[in-house]
């Protein structure tokens, strides 16, 4: 790449090896700020909008999350143990209504034990009962539920498919830089980011590909509570400062070039510059005092938003330590600790993108139906979106309990879930499902154009027989070997895609984060090839994007933002 090494601030100006950058950078830094803004392309980071992504690693079974309950092929013959039955008293064919449950069902089976499909109100789709906490988000119009999401020549390998979702270049194993990295790089290069040192942040064990790149460092925190240095001796704060100073001062030391030296330099600089930023935020458990503003399900008090301990998990502590009152399974502490940290970082720093991940979605065996492994994962997904919405509405900018230094409110944030593929329509012999094609995405935010928002009668995309690329029903009963219908659209086994994940992310990056179309063409190269990829406006994708004589009709960008 010929673009100058903006990297991080001055630390590279002394490196004579990068002399080419010196001239270009000198030219940029002398321009007055006002003029720079006028020249800047796009407004990523400058418009106050932020993004939070959650990776669902392993391939989430979308057919068991966003359930095509009106498709006759979704039945107990094809999915003996994983099928979610309809509630016999509900008419799922009614459209243009909110997501609701239970309707006229056994009143004794209150929401906590509801185990039927939750009507999504578009006349075709339903939610897994463990996703019930998505209902308030959906009904506020703040949730878009997107079905049949994939990419051309879809890989069934976890590693490859995750890589393509993150590098934005399907079937390209050599692209080592991520979509959100390129998005942040645009913000840095166009000087629309408020801070070049802190743009993208993840809370997980390693920096994911989606934020990796060679010219700027994104930050990954493995444990926000341990994000500082010790110093020797440890008892003297001066010693810590001396040690920290030594590390920082050594950053601009020139060295002969090696393959990994630039990466190390960028990440060292990122670490030293962000250590101080995060020191000002309270990530501790004691600081986890964030409460909902409503008591759910007839409880006497609201729940904690981030269930990082048993005591803060739903109504557990309120009901004499009753594990039946958890809102999320007891192994969710790490996930919600990370989500809390991500929310605090987005709210209190200049970071534009934050993300985390959790796994377990690769349910090859013992997947379970209304309860079980898959169900437990869905509980985590639903509560995550519910609680993040409440956090930013209450503690974000303009909220009833706005935090000191709050930068954003719920309308400024979009949350998106990612998963590398969906799973097989028909169960396997181990009461689970295997890797397949079309999956799903959830997009939440105040700016989402969901149910009831002007111009929208539903928040469901891609799961209806009246879509422009319609959902085609399959046969009732046990599917024959040559079954047809959307759920058998690939190899008679896999759900065929009708959206490209890049269209969803592209819409968000452009319309929400403020990229120009030109920037987006660089961030997601497929956009620059609209005549073949059809990511923007939809169309029929054929060779050479698809393999051989395969053709796939896709719907372009869903209209999911106000």
């Amino acid at each position: 790449m010929n673009t100058p090494n903006i990297i991080t601030r001055r630390s590279f100006l002394d490196r004579s090896v990068k002399l080419g950058a010196l001239g270009a950078l000198a030219a940029l830094t002398d321009i007055p700020f006002v003029v720079k803004r006028a020249l800047a392309e796009g407004n990523i980071g400058g418009n106050g909008k932020k993004l939070l992504f959650i990776w669902l690693r392993g391939g989430n079974d979308v057919l068991s999350s966003i359930i095509p309950v009106q498709d006759p092929a979704y039945n107990a013959s094809n999915r003996p143990t994983t099928v979610i039955p309809k509630d016999g008293l509900t008419d799922y064919s009614v459209g243009n209504i909110p997501c609701d449950f239970p309707v006229n069902s056994n009143a004794a089976a209150a929401t906590f034990s509801y185990n039927s499909a939750i009507r999504l109100g578009n006349g075709f789709a339903a939610l897994h009962p463990s996703l019930k906490f998505l209902a308030p988000v959906y009904n506020a119009g703040d949730l878009a539920v997107i079905h049949r999401v994939g990419y051309p020549r879809q890989s069934r390998s976890h590693f490859d498919s995750q890589n393509y979702w993150e590098n934005g270049a399907p079937n390209n194993n050599f692209e080592k830089e991520g979509i959100f990295y390129r998005t942040m790089l645009e913000a840095i290069q166009q000087n629309t980011a408020k801070s070049t040192g802190l743009t993208g942040v993840t809370l997980q064990t390693a920096l994911p590909l989606i934020l990796r790149g060679s010219q700027a460092a994104m930050t990954n925190l493995t444990d926000p509570l341990r994000y500082d240095l010790l110093g020797i001796p440890n008892t003297s704060t001066n010693a810590n400062a001396k040690a920290f100073g030594a590390v920082t001062n050594a950053a601009p030391f020139a060295f002969p070039d090696k393959l990994n030296r630039q990466l190390l330099s960028l990440q060292y600089a990122n670490m030293t510059s962000t250590l101080q930023i995060f020191a000002a935020i309270d990530f501790t458990e004691n600081g986890n005092t964030f409460l909902d503003d409503t008591a759910l399900d007839g409880e006497s008090a609201p729940y904690h938003l981030f269930p990082t301990t048993s005591a803060k998990n739903g109504g557990y502590a309120m009901h004499g330590n009753d594990t039946n009152k958890y809102v999320v399974p007891s192994n969710s502490a790490a996930l919600f600790s990370n989500l809390k940290a991500a929310a605090l970082i987005l709210n209190r720093t200049d970071a534009i993108v934050a993300g985390t991940e959790f796994g377990g979605f690769d349910t090859h065996s013992a997947q379970g139906g209304a309860t079980g492994a898959h169900a437990n994962l869905q509980r985590q997904v639903a509560w995550a979106l519910y609680s993040l919405r409440k956090f930013f509405r209450i503690y974000g900018k303009g909220g009833a309990q706005e935090m000191a230094g709050a930068q954003i409110g719920w309308n400024d944030l979009v949350i998106v879930t990612l998963s590398e593929f969906g799973r097989t329509t028909i169960e396997n012999n181990s009461t689970g499902t295997d890797h397949a094609e079309g999956g799903g995405m959830l997009v939440a935010g105040g700016a989402v154009k969901g149910y009831g928002k002007p111009g929208a009668t539903t928040g469901v995309f891609g799961c209806h027989t009246s879509d422009s690329v319609p959902w085609v029903n399959g046969p009732a009963g046990a599917a024959p070997a040559n079954a047809t219908g959307s759920m058998f659209g690939i190899s008679n086994r896999y759900l065929k895609r009708a959206y490209d994940y890049r269209s969803v992310l592209g819409r968000i990056i452009r319309q929400h984060l403020g990229a120009t179309q030109t920037q987006l063409n660089r961030i997601i190269p497929g956009y620059a090839n609209e005549s073949q990829e059809h990511l923007l406006s939809g169309g029929t994708v054929a060779s050479p994007i698809e393999s051989g004589s395969t053709t796939t009709a896709i719907m372009g960008e869903p209209d999911l933002l106000v």
């Binding site: 050599f174 064990t205 493995t222 240095l229 090696k258």
Partner: protein, 732 residues
């Protein structure tokens, strides 16, 4: 040792500007040329012309390196009054830089007495109006460079003793002898593992293949600690490196095995799973100690391992009676263990291949049947009967049909001779009963020596030993094939030409004797994984303070658990390896293995963890912060110095800051070159000579003391920790 052979690129003084300069250098020169005219003198104003670059090549021991490093060039010049400041670019493995100058470009250049050199900056107070400057570099000897490469790639980093034995001692064996001995580990007496009592102690807890596992056998924390300790202490270093490579290539997951053998009690089932992992390691060790051990041998160990049969779901895979076999192992066997992703197979092959593995099972059998794969299950309840869990063949699960895999496929043209165009279809006949087990062995025998496997495994070994930029997919027929592609091809030829094929030693020998490995093609290009980082930290400071090599006498030590995690309060979730990116040994949840390359490990959070680890290790026992990385990583930098400095010629002093700093720079950064460490030296000297608040406090005035908390001890420890927190120590 340096010879001075000068290669001068010297144009005539009047055409200085026409030198073949890159645009970047032209930019700098343009600034320096303001007001200057070629060939003219300007009275009192010095006109600087830069110009020639001299590279001193080293003596006869150098092989022709494929791409020599770019010679140093002057990048900036400035002049204020009579003070001239000049900056030049770094040069790898540089022992010394010198500035030479002359008043006339035709005259001999001499060392410039009127200037000072610091790092890559030269400052001169220049009385004469016109001077020409040259930068002269003396590189490290090729033997020293190769030695540092070998100690970092064929070992978990150097120890002070190994550096002396190989490079700097009274009778060093030299880099090549070190490489040769490490390639043949059976020729090395493994006395290193006697230097810590935990190794024998934990080793005795390991359960053998026919041992009934009880609660006194090793658990997974024991195995992790034992593995780490061997990495720290072994003399057969390369063997330990390769064992970790094999472990990370043929990934198995301890916790999944543990779940499978349930019903016998949570403690023992975990120990049975540990036995599975240990037996893999033990059997791979035997293969690698065999001079003709092959990749097929390693692959067979993995395929027969109960841990692998459980991990990738072969154990529940049933192919008889029309059942659909589980594809997990078949897919990963091709994608991750032999051919490499999308390298010569497709989904049909996976589906067919999956049927070959049906029947490969794990069963609890009588002790006498530990090696009998056709034995029947031990009668009685698994929770109470006394037996051994072992690889077993369950005929009732096996798909007995004939199978044809890679039907009609031929090796692509890109592989070139002798493989291109070969048909590699594998036909497996109908096999019933216990004969069915042969399906799996047919597959292993076939896959192990296909060119796809040769390519993929050679690529993985090159990534382990040279640098990260190797990938499968080269066009080996391309006349413009890169050096990396050529090396992979040579590895493949070494693989093909052996009898038997695929001898690991032949391939490894090809790599470590290649130009890419032996030169700047590999030096310093990789980043340490968490295991390499933690182990190399201990090794870098480790010598026996009384020369006996007895346990407990070392200046740096670990109990193993303090790195990989124990049970109880410092458990694996808190261990350094986990904190640095979740490198939990023997228990990875996804079969692709821990990353070998840097982006998987280097991020702000993991760097902070690495730096905390180093600081905690260097903190004295009992002091605050020690427990952050477990109390049992202990170091005594003073002990190391007291063992080594008096033996130097002339003897060094532990109160002399320069002696102390130079000693550590020489052992921690053996391959960097003394001249490139100038800035670290200055920083370290400054650290030693200032107190915690930054005020001047001469190191030589401190009372030498090894007492925890004393000023001298804290100051010394702090400086060593500082050096280990520098970026260069992350590199391999």
């Amino acid at each position: 040792m340096s010879a001075t052979v000068s290669v001068a690129l010297s144009p005539s003084p009047f055409h200085a500007l026409t030198l073949p300069l890159s645009p970047s250098r032209r930019l700098a020169l343009a600034g320096a040329w303001e007001g200057g005219r070629s060939g003219e003198r300007h009275g009192s104003r010095a006109v600087l012309r830069i110009l020639t670059f001299i590279v001193l090549a080293c003596g006869a021991a150098l092989r022709a390196a494929p791409v020599p490093p770019v010679p140093p060039s002057v990048s900036t010049l400035s002049r204020t009054g009579s003070v001239v400041t000049l900056r030049f670019t770094p040069f790898p493995a540089a022992q010394q830089f010198r500035l030479l100058s002359s008043t006339n470009i035709g005259s001999p250049f001499t060392a410039d007495p009127a200037g000072t050199l610091s790092g890559y900056d030269f400052t001169a107070t220049n009385p004469s109006p016109v001077r020409f400057y040259q930068v002269e570099v003396t590189p490290m000897s090729s033997n020293a460079l190769l030695g540092s490469i070998a100690l970092n790639r064929l070992a978990y980093g150097p120890t002070p003793d190994e550096i002396e034995r190989v490079l700097t001692g009274a009778a060093p064996i030299g880099a090549q002898a070190f490489i040769n001995e490490q390639l043949a580990p059976e020729t090395i007496a493994e006395t290193g593992v006697n230097s810590h009592t935990n190794i024998a102690f934990l080793g005795a807890k390991m359960a053998g293949p026919s041992d009934v596992v009880t609660s006194t056998n090793a658990n997974i924390a024991d195995l992790g600690a034992w593995h780490v300790l061997r990495a720290v202490t072994a003399r057969r270093q390369f063997l330990e490196v390769l064992l970790q490579w094999a472990e990370n290539h043929f990934v198995t997951q301890h916790s999944k095995s543990s779940t499978y053998v349930n019903g016998v009690g949570a403690v023992v089932q975990e120990q049975i799973a540990t036995q599975f992992e240990f037996l893999e390691n033990d059997r791979w060790r035997a293969v690698l100690l065999n001079p003709t051990g092959t990749f097929l041998d390693l692959l067979r160990v993995s395929a027969e391992s109960p841990a692998m049969i459980i991990y990738l779901d072969t154990v529940t895979s049933r192919g008889a009676g029309g059942r659909i076999a589980n594809e997990n192992y078949a897919r990963e066997l091709l994608e991750l263990f032999t051919f490499g992703v999308d390298n010569g197979y497709d989904q049909t092959d996976i589906t067919t291949l999956s049927r070959c593995w049906t029947g490969w099972y794990v069963e609890k059998v009588a002790v006498a049947d530990a090696f009998n794969v056709f034995a029947t299950a031990l009668p009685g309840l698994k929770s109470t009967n006394v037996g051994v869990w072992a690889f077993n063949f369950r005929t009732s699960y096996h798909n007995t049909n004939s199978k044809s895999i890679f039907v009609g496929k031929t090796v692509p043209a890109r592989f070139g001779a002798p493989w291109a165009g070969r048909n590699y279809q594998l036909n497996i006949p109908v096999r019933t009963g216990t004969n069915g087990i042969q399906d799996g062995y047919d597959v292993l025998n076939h896959l192990a020596n296909q060119p796809f496997t040769m390519e993929y495994i050679s690529v993985k070994l090159c990534r382990l030993l040279v640098h990260d930029d190797f990938a499968h997919g080269y066009d080996f027929t391309d006349p413009g094939l890169s050096a990396e592609g050529r090396l992979v091809k040579q590895c493949m030829l070494a693989w093909e030409d052996g009898t038997p094929k695929g001898q690991m030693r032949a391939v490894l020998s090809t790599i470590v004797n290649s130009d890419l490995f032996r030169s700047h093609g590999s030096a310093g290009h990789k980043v340490k994984t968490p295991m390499e980082f933690t182990v190399s930290t201990i090794r870098a400071l480790r010598t026996s303070t009384n020369g006996t090599a007895n346990p407990g006498t070392f200046s740096a030590d670990t109990d193993g658990f303090a790195i990989s995690g124990g049970l109880g309060s410092f458990n694996r979730s808190l261990a350094p390896l986990t904190r640095m990116g979740n490198m939990v040994l023997f228990d990875r949840d996804s079969p692709d293995g821990y990353p070998e390359d840097s982006p998987g490990w280097i991020s702000a959070g993991t760097l902070a963890e690495r730096l905390r680890f180093v600081q905690s290790v260097l903190i004295a026992t009992g002091q605050s912060g020690k427990s952050d990385a477990g109390n049992n990583n202990v170091t005594s930098p003073l002990g190391l110095l007291q063992a080594k400095l008096p033996l130097q010629v002339p003897p060094g002093s532990v109160s002399n800051a320069t002696n102390v700093v130079d000693y550590f720079l020489g052992t921690l950064y053996a391959g960097e070159g003394r001249a490139n460490l100038d800035l670290y030296r200055t920083a370290a000297l400054n650290f030693l000579n200032t107190d915690d608040a930054g005020a001047s406090s001469p190191f030589s005035a401190l009372t030498v003391s090894g007492t925890a908390g004393s000023t001298y001890d804290n100051r010394l420890r702090g400086m060593v920790a500082m050096l280990l927190t520098m970026q260069r120590f992350q590199e391999q």
